[in-house]
Subunit: 155 residues, 2 copies
């Protein structure tokens, strides 16, 4: 999905929900979709402000749920206090994460079997699965061998 298509989807979602298309919301959208790596709310505040310096932290926090509900962003919780976000380029992405404990870089890996697994185990318990997550925390071999985590540069 191109950024243009995503922007239209965002506007359409806002319209559907009776929400307004504001400059701040658009700036936050642009800031989010300009990112290629996972980002935090705080980073999004900074980037959105470079587009429209009137964007407040509060508005970013109020906009993030809108963008995740509309499936434009995926929320990635890796067990730290803060949440990471990533543009969702595929609506039905079933992805696992491999997280480098040394540099916090997040690698995403397609894991279509997750959905099957969620269905199977939930059904046995009388539950209906909504989301599933599969994460692997790992150490960087390069760091162990050379003292430098090679992922840190690109993170």
């Amino acid at each position: 999905m191109s950024n243009d298509a995503a922007r239209e989807k965002f506007k359409a979602y806002l319209a559907t929900k009776g929400l307004r298309v504001t400059n701040q919301r658009l700036a936050i959208f642009e800031a989010a979709f300009a990112r290629t790596e996972h980002f935090t709310a705080e980073e999004l505040v900074t980037h959105a402000r470079s587009i429209d310096d009137s964007v407040s932290r509060a508005t970013v926090y109020r906009t993030l749920p809108i963008m995740t509900e509309s499936a434009l962003l995926r929320e990635v919780d890796i067990g730290k206090n803060l949440k990471y976000y990533h543009p969702n380029t595929d609506n039905n992405a079933q992805v696992a994460q491999v997280i480098c404990i040394d540099c916090d870089k997040i690698f995403e890996i397609s894991a279509p079997f997750m959905e099957w697994y969620g269905n199977t185990v939930s059904t046995k318990l009388g539950l209906t699965p909504v989301t599933q997550r599969l994460q692997v925390n790992a150490h960087c071999n390069t760091l162990r061998d050379t003292g430098v985590c090679k992922h840190r540069d690109s993170a």
Copy 2:
């Protein structure tokens, strides 16, 4: 592993690390191992105080990492602000969680394949896996059908 065996393991771990066996640490241990369901730090404070009312919140928070490092407790992060803990009855437990979104009850399910998965995907990235987690968030069918979440009572 019986509670007695776990208590000895706890004391042995403390000794190994040069940490002292204090009444507070023992009270926190007893409170944790008296629980059959997952519990939070705050719940542990309350229960530990019923054993030794001198136990402070700070000491509970300082003791929890010791108990997780020693594999006596497993830390379960279900993507909320707070963490849950559970006595670890099997040292090498590879468990997935199914979480009822309606009542926050956590079901644990043996998932030995997780370790294999973690190894496989990590190796490809030049990483060494440390931990993995697999979680399914699900809605309660009983709640949907009858308006009452049947798990809430036992949670």
